[in-house]
Symmetry: C2
Subunit: 202 residues, 2 copies
DNA sequence: ACAAAACATGAATGATTATTCAGTTTGTGA
DNA sequence: TCACAAACTGAATAATCATTCATGTTTTGT
């Protein structure tokens, strides 16, 4: 994958490399992958068209590179946060919170990750299936520990991802609004998941 | 919107019109909006390139047309099914079930609807915001009727959409597998939503 | 059967864009 | 300070596509 990416060796080269990436993230977010042209990237970055090809053979390879960076970063953050709390419920809560917080802090990332479904379906599947499997592992542990009912772990992992994603989406689309009340939103979500939404009918 | 679409007047014209739409749905699903070229559509449909322009001025107008068709159809189906049952919980259950069933019966639609986020963000917002508002209306009624806790209806509507979407996604990506057990999946989902996932800790 | 309307064709045009490469500049280590 | 590697340039090339339109065919109403 990244063999196709030519890593720069000097200070200047690294700066240009990173400039291309940052500019591209911005454009992918604003215009989408397919509507972003190489010329758009190099113009916006203030470099020559040919410079792009010093580091990336084409747009797709750059896209994959950016996707991997996001994936590593979000997993790293969740991993860090989750390790700081005890109990499966608390861990799930922190996991979802970190996920939502990431979407808030990096609205670019959120958008770009989802677009993988249309850029290359296999990329998308790898991404989310990997997530689901991680979730499942934790959920199974919870059931063993008696903290959770004996539910279908695969299904629940998708439900949790769905919830986190739609909350992220909601916030993403409401550009400008609230944004600050992540804790409150997460608390409400977790409360709903914990207690259910509907009253028990006898 | 549809003024830009030239509706055919004869039997033959209608057939060609529909052939273009069906072929396009298939290609959008398989290759995505941006990677589908007009020539791909006309070749696949077995018509001349120019014929496309008899009915649609460009690809985007055709995309919007298809999106509207899906929107009408899914809402129609949900409306029909929901009207057949009593009680908010049952209505939600049937609503989610119909939504998932729709995704199963029309994997094309599911994929194409989501792509609107990248084709034209405003289309996406209109689509899902409309859904959320409909959900909210029902939820508020449920709370009034005492069938539901006094939750944040906007948040819950997004949670329900998130769940339904991710279940749809899961099934979509598992091409070939199960597919038959919609009832069972929906029952599990609704059970989880009704009772919560985690055991109450005193 | 005939004129008008509708439908269909596909080669030609022109716009857009990815990618290359010969030449130039910049930085670095000896 | 010299030589070499790394970085950079942007005009030129070539491929891809959307869209048009002059021409031809089919259908329909009368």
């Amino acid at each position: 994958m990244e063999h196709e990416v030519k890593i720069p060796k000097t200070r200047n080269g690294k700066a240009t490399f990173q400039l291309i990436i940052d500019t591209t993230i911005d454009l992918f977010y604003k215009k989408g992958y397919f509507q972003t042209k190489i010329k758009d990237i190099t113009d916006e970055a203030g470099i020559a068209a040919g410079t792009f090809y010093l580091y990336f053979p084409n747009k797709f390879v750059l896209y994959k590179y950016i996707l991997m960076e996001f994936q590593h970063e979000i997993r790293r953050q969740i991993s860090i946060q989750v390790s700081n709390v005890e109990g499966r419920f608390e861990k799930e809560k922190v996991g979802i919170k970190t996920f939502i917080q990431f979407a808030l802090d990096n609205p670019h990332a959120y958008n770009i990750i989802w677009e993988s479904l249309y850029v290359d379906k296999q990329l998308f599947i790898n991404y989310y299936d990997g997530f689901a499997k991680r979730y499942e592992k934790g959920l199974k542990q919870s059931i063993e520990d008696g903290e959770m009912y004996d539910v279908d772990t695969e299904l629940v992992s998708y439900i949790l991802m769905g919830v986190a994603n739609f909350i992220g989406l909601k916030v993403l689309l409401e550009l400008g609004e609230d944004k600050g009340n992540v804790d409150e939103v997460v608390d409400q979500v977790m409360n709903i998941i914990q207690t259910g939404i509907f009253k028990k009918v006898k």
